[in-house]
């Protein structure tokens, strides 16, 4: 049996406005539904997703790994 894992938490989830193309794959893949689509437009005109509550995040990095434009960075709390 594995030792009881330390509960992981995200300090911040950064979505880069410059590179995000608004495909909303992060909304689809996140198992905790941290992301949601929004109507806020980036400077290049894409509808940006938003991560309103990073407290729900379990730091699985699925969004980071799936993001086709490397626009998401999940910053872990005391890694």
């Amino acid at each position: 049996m594995k030792a009881s894992p330390r509960k992981k938490a995200a300090k911040e989830i950064v979505i880069d406005d410059q590179f995000c193309k608004g495909c909303n794959l992060c909304v689809e893949v996140c198992p905790r539904k941290v992301f949601s689509a929004s109507s806020r437009r980036s400077r290049s005109g894409y509808s940006m997703p938003q991560a309103e509550d990073p407290g729900k995040c379990s730091v699985c990095f699925l969004c980071e790994m799936t993001c086709p434009d490397l626009a998401i960075t999940v910053i872990e709390e005391n890694p």
């Binding site: 193309k21 699925l62 086709p68 490397l70």
Partner: protein, 272 residues
């Protein structure tokens, strides 16, 4: 920007040319992680063919060849033979790898030369406007098969295995964690490594074959169609139509690697 992108990507080429929601970006993302974990960025030599996926290596700050349509593997063989210490990785698409360059592909697999071929399969010639590819599913509507595709598609992993590749795996863009593990294992494997990544193409394949251009929906479709290798053994063949097997499909160790065989037969000191 993600710190890994900051470390390895040519910044003046950004943003990536891919359409929003393209699976190619996921493969680039996962590949960067694999290279970072293995710490082999300095030894990399990347080759890209023509097509959307052929653009992937050009974003990295390493040695890159962007070559003729279908001829990525022959150029990579040359690179490997001039210096076997190089870690040569080929990024190629389904049309590039088995459509135009099918012959090069099977012969490189036959030689068992130490390359890592990452084939991104979206089932269509995306960049040129959505023509039918050798991997387009049956009855798929494309620009050049408007009444549905009548040609059965290639099972490229099966082709690679029977041609003599020693490491064959297939994952989808919806399995980034497993893909990362496979790329790392494949790059360490001494021999011809073939990794097929089923990817979504919202602009061409999604719109014409699947009937949706929503990247998230297409990703879920990929996940739904993939059957794990162990489970596929128990599934009757009629239930496997339209689905594909994912996982490590073939791993053979002990077969002689080609560049090693060449350098053993013709040692550099003697030929001088």
């Amino acid at each position: 920007m993600h710190p890994l992108a900051d470390k390895y990507i040519r910044k003046r080429t950004l943003p990536l040319i891919f359409c929003p929601g393209c699976g190619d970006g996921t493969v680039l993302n996962v590949f960067l992680r694999a290279v970072d974990d293995l710490g082999i960025f300095k030894d990399l030599a990347l080759v890209g063919g023509i097509g959307c996926s052929g653009w992937l290596p050009t974003y990295l700050q390493s040695d890159v060849l962007h070559v003729l349509h279908g001829r990525a593997i022959p150029f990579a063989c040359g690179l490997k033979l001039t210096d076997p210490r190089r870690k040569v990785v080929v990024f190629t698409g389904d049309g590039d790898c088995v459509g135009i360059g099918g012959n090069h592909f099977i012969h490189a697999a036959r030689r068992n030369i130490d390359l890592t071929v990452i084939m991104i399969n979206n089932g269509i010639y995306g960049m040129t406007g959505g023509q039918v590819a050798p991997t387009t599913p049956l009855q798929g509507r494309t620009q050049t098969s408007p009444y549905g595709n009548l040609e059965p598609p290639f099972d490229v992993c099966e082709l690679a295995r029977s041609a003599g590749a020693t490491y064959v795996a297939r994952w989808t863009a919806a399995h980034p964690v497993q893909l990362l593990k496979t790329i790392k294992e494949g790059m360490e494997h001494p021999g011809f490594t073939f990794i097929e990544v089923m990817a979504q193409c919202p602009t061409q394949a999604g719109r014409y074959i699947e009937g949706t251009s929503n990247a998230g929906e297409l990703l879920n479709l990929l996940k739904k169609r993939s059957v794990a290798r162990e489970k596929a053994k128990e599934t009757p063949p009629e239930e496997m139509t339209g689905k594909f097997v994912v996982g490590k499909l073939h791993h053979l160790t002990g077969k002689k690697e080609f560049s090693q065989a060449i350098y053993e037969s013709f040692p550099p000191e003697k030929s001088r």
